[in-house]
Subunit: 138 residues, 4 copies
Amino acid sequence: MAYRHRIRVRYGETDRMGVVHHSVHPLYFEEARTALMRSLGFPYAELERSGYLLPLTEFAVSFRRGARYDDEVDIEVSMESVGRVRLRLRYRMVRVPDGELLAEGHTEHASVGPDFRPRRLPEEVVRAFGTAVSREED
Amino acid sequence: MAYRHRIRVRYGETDRMGVVHHSVHPLYFEEARTALMRSLGFPYAELERSGYLLPLTEFAVSFRRGARYDDEVDIEVSMESVGRVRLRLRYRMVRVPDGELLAEGHTEHASVGPDFRPRRLPEEVVRAFGTAVSREED
Amino acid sequence: MAYRHRIRVRYGETDRMGVVHHSVHPLYFEEARTALMRSLGFPYAELERSGYLLPLTEFAVSFRRGARYDDEVDIEVSMESVGRVRLRLRYRMVRVPDGELLAEGHTEHASVGPDFRPRRLPEEVVRAFGTAVSREED
Amino acid sequence: MAYRHRIRVRYGETDRMGVVHHSVHPLYFEEARTALMRSLGFPYAELERSGYLLPLTEFAVSFRRGARYDDEVDIEVSMESVGRVRLRLRYRMVRVPDGELLAEGHTEHASVGPDFRPRRLPEEVVRAFGTAVSREED
């Protein structure tokens, strides 16, 4: 089961086409990813304080339909694979309340230290994140 | 040969990791795409005025290295495929002056009318855009 | 009493100084303003559908302290003055849980129609918004 | 005479009203301010490397007319006052080519060290910035 995080579309996130601009999806996915990590007991802010950064190595998204100002959307996020130096997460963005799929995508992250060199995540983090690997969705 | 468009990184485009946040790459690619279309004789603003919208159906990027505040970067953009209802473009983001590759990716666009239904691009636009299909890079 | 709206800081909203970039405060104030109008029975999205736009004519903010990634902040928003063609709202941004004041400011809005010409707000909207005029704070 | 810096409006910087969203003006002003400081011999990136940060303490803008996608605008920026721990700059945003005034505003900055405590700017910086104090415009 994916973790679900709700967001309401801000006016400034739309563009002149009337829909959420595609530069905003990375921010929505990020907000949902942050919420997922907190729910797993390892908030990303604390990981950074402990010297583990998770910069993106890859970002991809397919767009089905636009979200509009003041729409509520759910971001469903799950871990796709969890390793000591690499994470991959999947995202689905659906409209509330009709559940229409608006976009889906993934992010890939490297675990690095403050010097941006690879740094192996603590075993307990890998274990906790591993519990959020989705079985049904792939 | 790809079209080359230069951008200087704004302070507000960096994040607390000190590098350009990944929600900014879509804006850089978009700015370069706009410049490419203008150079081909069909500015996107005019296409929209004529009732042709080109919303994204897909966006993907791989990140190699971060760009920093005040860095100059070149976005090299080329058409990958040009059809009457679908376009695909490729992008490389390189750092000036050392040419280091920072990121690369692609966007895919549908041609639709103001009602968001598929609308075939005029033949002259397809022909003009087709001249920017890169031969070497694929 | 001001209406209070809670927001959690996104990673991408920080800059390389480590704090929320000042281009983000307009988005936070806007989100709080949207929530206030909804609570008063006239969601801004519905006003727009009825042909009333409220573009900003003025924006000002003073910054006291920075907000950091993953901080929760409350935006306290109230109407300062409500007329048929002009609104003025006040905002205070405080950190949760210690209540530290981070920033404060105001926005001024004109009521216009889709043609951007002045359009007098319906009396019932003025009355509803008027109930949110703060008495203590000025 | 104010320093003049040209910017072309990105698609993603517009909102569903069709004009540049007011969260973008801070980024335009910042880009122009960066260009002004470089022209005066003290790029802000170098100031930061030397341990001088210039966070905003105040931001204000009045909006006259909206800028639209693909418009070119000039940001005219000048120093209003230059002290060792406080700077104030003024901005006018005008449309190219007709010179129509779209917005104007100011920013105020404190000079601080990496610990965010006040730090007096070097005398040579104050002198250089002082040459950009506009005499006509106030």
